[in-house]
């Protein structure tokens, strides 16, 4: 076995991999930051991609705040998870608008809810950002009054708030 050659070749292959990886990540629109936000305590975990334009101001960061909004009855809670997950349990009275079926369902949703409706999106919890993505899609469709409940279904359920 010619270990000297093998080591040289491996350094060559790994070198090309490093150069191409960081070059592509630098120029690609879907590139991510070198260090992401992977601590759940300050908020939703994310790789902090360049394509993310999430605004922290839109986030509802406390479950109790979400409950106050819920109790006022002025907001429509919209579940971004799959229909299967929604059927297994969701915030009572919430509507399902799965991110994966957004294009198929948005027109029906728009007929039901005018653009000035106060919407609160949510998904599972702080490990998912589907609620953020849903907020962006809804914004693109003219909904300007959308907030994101970042603790999601898990946080809501843990507090013993109404589910169905």
């Amino acid at each position: 076995m010619q270990w000297n050659n093998i080591i040289k070749e491996m350094i060559f292959l790994l070198g090309i991999s490093i150069i191409s990886a960081f070059t592509v990540n630098f120029f690609s629109p879907s590139g991510i930051a070198l260090v992401g936000q992977w601590d759940e305590s300050p908020g939703v975990v994310a790789s902090e991609a360049k394509s993310d334009v999430f605004s922290g101001e839109l986030e509802i960061k406390h479950v109790k705040t979400a409950k106050q909004i819920y109790d006022k009855g002025t907001a429509v809670f919209v579940d971004a998870r799959s229909l299967e997950n929604f059927k297994n349990g969701h915030i009572k009275g919430a509507e399902s608008l799965p991110l994966g079926q957004f294009d198929d369902l948005i027109e029906t949703f728009k007929k039901k809810h005018p653009a000035d409706t106060f919407i609160v999106t949510y998904c599972l919890g702080r490990t998912c950002d589907d609620s953020h993505r849903l907020e962006q899609l809804l914004f693109d469709h003219g909904y300007v009054n959308v907030s994101i409940f970042i603790d999601g279904y898990q946080g809501w359920k843990a507090e013993g708030f109404p589910i169905e």
Binding site: V24, A49, Y153
Partner: protein
């Protein structure tokens, strides 16, 4: 029986079949990860084994190691070294999956896109099969078919 297996493993056609299967598999595996590093980063996070500062770096670097090594196997450029890298990756995958199976850690971020395919146990079995292929490619001593550059020599 064992001599039959030895003959099979020393066969040049077996080597090229295994090399191409591994090459195509790893190129394919890297494709989605390169296209959506943010989803892959979340999968890395989900294994709950890496420090926060390393998660994005792994998500950026690993898919390209898979791509370059996969291409290298497919085209027959430094196949032995590429097989060694692939074997290292497979060993790491097997180790990570096994640790999480043993400690009962299963991660589901509840996200639309970042989903693993298949059960962790099936993934370990699959990776062990790939590792056997990778070892054959690495240890093969005969003449390699469709191989352009091998150990510094053009063939």
């Amino acid at each position: 029986m064992s001599s039959n297996i030895r003959t099979l493993f020393n066969n040049g056609w077996t080597e090229i079949a295994f090399r191409w299967i591994l090459g195509i598999t790893f190129i394919y595996a890297s494709y989605y990860k390169i296209l959506s590093p943010t989803d892959f980063a979340k999968m890395v996070y989900g294994y709950n084994l890496f420090p926060d500062v390393l998660i994005n770096l792994i998500a950026i670097f690993l898919p390209f190691v898979e791509l370059i090594s996969g291409l290298s196997l497919l085209l027959g450029i430094y196949p032995r070294s590429a097989a060694l890298i692939i074997n290292g990756l497979l060993l790491a995958f097997i180790l990570i999956l096994t640790i999480n199976i043993i400690r009962g850690h299963e991660f589901d971020c509840g996200c639309f896109s970042a989903k693993e395919t298949g059960s962790p146990k099936m993934m370990v079995v699959r990776d062990v099969i790939y590792l056997i292929m990778g070892l054959q490619v690495f240890l093969f001593n005969g003449v390699r078919k469709v191989c352009f550059i091998h150990l510094g020599k053009r063939i």
